[in-house]
């Protein structure tokens, strides 16, 4: 508890949730003709992140309106892009680049708010020929443990309505091998790589974090609070505010890297967990992980998956993820990364409006590896047509004004 108090004190001095990084070179004159604003060239430091973002924007604006942004708009989402589709000439920014940059704290700057959630791209090196990696806002790796893990028996995937049921288990080759194989590769990449960690105990997590300290190529750590123990009765740490805090605190003690705590929506009150990990020193919070589900084999003689239960992901869990982001964003001051069922730019806009500073694409990236990059382009298009100069202006627009402490009653009473 002591560590927690201390953490809160440190956090209260933190700068606001979304710190926008403006391009170092501000455009002064309007560019002539249809040519988009030329991307300013090679600069180091955090400002280069937003420059990279802006250049992505310029290339996006040069092309015709994109198909998927127009196809699946929901009337409720603010700035539904379909409203602007077909009017690519409209540019309320007068050709100025949109600032897509996001700062997740402790120097973790993303060139754009669309990252790849933990898992779908493995360690990234496997997909270099499928994805323009440098254009990703960031990449979270598969969850990695101190020792190798074999994962669950096959079959590991089952199709369910609007989603996929996954029974992978935390299969990974172990931290040592991962660092040896990939750290030097990541160090050469432009997109920040966030290493996801899972551990059976807070102590083991601390050991893993100490092992990582000093490795090049790792921009941040994500603590997967959906695996391991430490909760009451051996439950996963994400269900228990104290256990979650002990995991994050153990990581915090071992590193100066930015720490993202990945919450699970299984917790009875995610706000309590969120406040607890914020207090323990998390720089950002991502939510949500997959949710436990079950499907039957075709012959109905048993489960469809070798693991029995599976984790549900995909559009089926999007409303739950949005609820959690909405709740967490009101409960904490640190930035929130919304994950769960993102498949279109409308989903990205929904998450931003609900309070996410960035979004993670999960299972949708399996079928469409270029989706995260395309979503960032489409997001820039939407910003441009709305006249929004910085994507941070779209964050939390749907949240009620914070006049007092967030409600401690159930989710349905939160308003």
């Amino acid at each position: 508890m002591k560590a927690k108090r201390k953490g809160v004190a440190a956090n209260s001095k933190r700068t606001p949730t979304v710190r926008r990084i403006r391009p170092a070179i501000a455009p002064v004159s309007r560019p002539r003709g249809p040519a988009p604003f030329p991307p300013p060239g090679g600069r180091a430091g955090p400002s280069s992140a937003s420059i990279a973002g802006s250049s992505a924007v310029s290339s996006a604006s040069a092309s015709a309106p994109r198909q998927s942004s127009a196809s699946s708009s929901s009337a409720s989402s603010p700035g539904s892009p379909s409203a602007q589709a077909g009017a690519p000439a409209l540019d309320a920014l007068g050709g100025r680049p949109v600032d897509l940059g996001v700062d997740l704290g402790r120097g973790l700057a993303l060139a754009n708010p669309v990252i790849v959630a933990s898992g779908p791209f493995g360690y990234g090196a496997e997909v270099t020929d499928l994805v323009d990696l440098p254009r990703l806002g960031g990449l979270v790796t598969r969850s990695t443990s101190l020792k190798p893990k074999a994962g669950q028996p096959a079959p590991r995937m089952a199709e369910v309505p609007a989603g996929l049921l996954l029974g992978m288990g935390p299969q990974n080759p172990g931290l040592e091998l991962v660092l040896e194989r990939y750290a030097s590769v990541w160090a050469r990449w432009q997109a920040p790589v966030i290493l996801s960690l899972c551990a059976d105990s807070a102590g083991e997590l601390g050991e893993a974090v100490r092992r990582i300290e000093g490795e090049a190529g790792i921009a941040g750590l994500e603590i997967n609070l959906s695996c391991g123990g430490g909760g009451r009765g051996g439950a996963i740490p994400g269900l228990d505010a104290d256990a979650a805090a002990s995991y994050v605190a153990a990581a915090r003690r071992g590193t100066d890297l930015p720490i993202i705590a990945k919450l699970t929506a299984q917790a009875a009150d995610v706000r309590a967990i969120a406040r607890s990990v914020e207090g323990a020193g998390a720089d950002a919070i991502s939510a949500i992980n997959t949710l436990p589900g079950f499907a039957l084999a075709a012959d109905r003689r048993g489960p469809a998956l070798g693991s029995g239960y599976g984790g549900l992901c995909g559009p089926a869990i999007r409303p739950i993820a949005l609820r959690v982001v909405w709740e967490v964003a009101q409960a904490v001051d640190v930035p929130v990364i919304g994950v769960g069922g993102v498949a279109s730019v409308d989903d990205v806009l929904d998450f931003l409006a609900a309070g996410a500073s960035a979004v993670g694409v999960g299972v949708a990236a399996l079928a469409d590896p270029m989706l995260p990059v395309r979503l960032a382009d489409e997001l820039a298009d939407v910003c441009r047509s709305l006249g929004v100069a910085a994507v941070g202006d779209l964050v939390g627009t749907a949240l009620p004004a914070r006049t007092g402490p967030a409600s401690t009653r159930g989710a349905e009473w939160a308003r």
Binding site: V127, L130, P153, A154, R156, E159, P315, A316, L366, D368
Partner: protein, 289 residues
């Protein structure tokens, strides 16, 4: 293997609820080999982005077309194509990627190929038939189905193939399973290839293991030293194996990253999209059969 838009050329029903879809995809058609798959971006209700693996059933490099076989719905009120293809008309485009995975490997010395398939899994071996016939090999296809109505149409097979059918209800050919037919041909075959439900493949693997003993083939002496050891998973390992199988599994990424497509291998799990879908039968762990 970046996906691209391929044009649907033709679409027709070849059996109850079984549809043949032909695509113009020259790059894949010219490089595809038997045992490989196509990764098809299907459109799902509820907005779930998904790709499904379909065996490349035929590939014609000269016209740039390839076909896949996909299950639709079949019921009293008639049958319909797979939901994701129901709104597609010839001329429409769909996002395809491929070829996915490792191909089947035929030993250049093998003259007699025994192919064993059950149900729609025939699509996994269909291209092998064309390749083998083109190379002048003899092919026997043993095919199992539930009833005569669901038997793969012989009109879709080259004339050169000897086609032997088993049906569970005895309405056509042998009454029983396709595995019953194997004994009659195993002495003739130089190599065999199978696709179908896992229990069938496991059973065939067991049969293949006892084949030499049944046939009285003596293995004279031990091969001494020399030669490199055959790498498991290599084309050579498949080429040297009497039985190769094509495994079916949910393949979500086909890039080897998601680890969702694993199957139990003889030494640890294997990814069907990368190490498969074609395997030497003894590279897999079939569990208690």
């Amino acid at each position: 293997m970046r996906p691209f838009g391929a044009e649907l050329v033709d679409r027709r029903e070849i059996g109850p609820g079984q549809w043949l879809l032909a695509w113009h995809a020259p790059a894949i058609a010219s490089s595809a080999r038997a045992g490989q798959a196509l990764h098809v971006r299907t459109v799902e209700a509820g907005g779930m982005p998904l790709r499904r693996p379909y065996a490349i059933a035929t590939a014609d490099a000269s016209s740039g077309t390839l076909t896949i076989q996909a299950a639709g719905r079949s019921g009293p009120s008639g049958s319909s194509p797979p939901p994701w293809a129901s709104s597609l008309r010839p001329g429409d485009r769909l996002d395809l990627a491929g070829p996915v995975g490792r191909p089947l490997e035929v030993d250049p010395r093998a003259r007699h190929l025994l192919l064993i398939a059950e149900g729609p899994a025939i699509a996994n071996l269909r291209l092998l038939i064309d390749e083998a016939v083109r190379e002048g090999r003899s092919v026997v296809l043993l095919y199992g189905a539930a009833t005569a109505a669901s038997v793969y149409p012989s009109s879709l097979l080259p004339d050169e193939v000897e086609y032997v059918v088993a049906t569970a209800d005895g309405s056509l050919g042998h009454a029983g399973t396709v595995a019953d037919l194997v004994f009659e041909y195993e002495g003739w075959a130089d190599q065999s290839f199978a696709a179908g439900p896992t229990p069938l493949l496991g059973g065939l693997t067991q049969l293949a293991a006892g084949r030499k003993q049944r046939l009285g083939v003596a293995t004279l002496g031990r091969k001494r030293g020399g030669g490199r050891p055959i790498q498991p998973g290599s084309p050579e390992a498949r080429r040297k194996s009497f039985l190769q199988v094509v495994l079916a599994q949910t393949v979500a990424c086909a890039a080897g990253t998601c680890l969702g497509c694993v199957a139990p291998g003889a030494s640890g799990s294997v990814r069907v999209c990368r190490e498969g879908p074609s395997f030497a039968a003894d590279e897999l762990d079939w569990g208690p059969v």
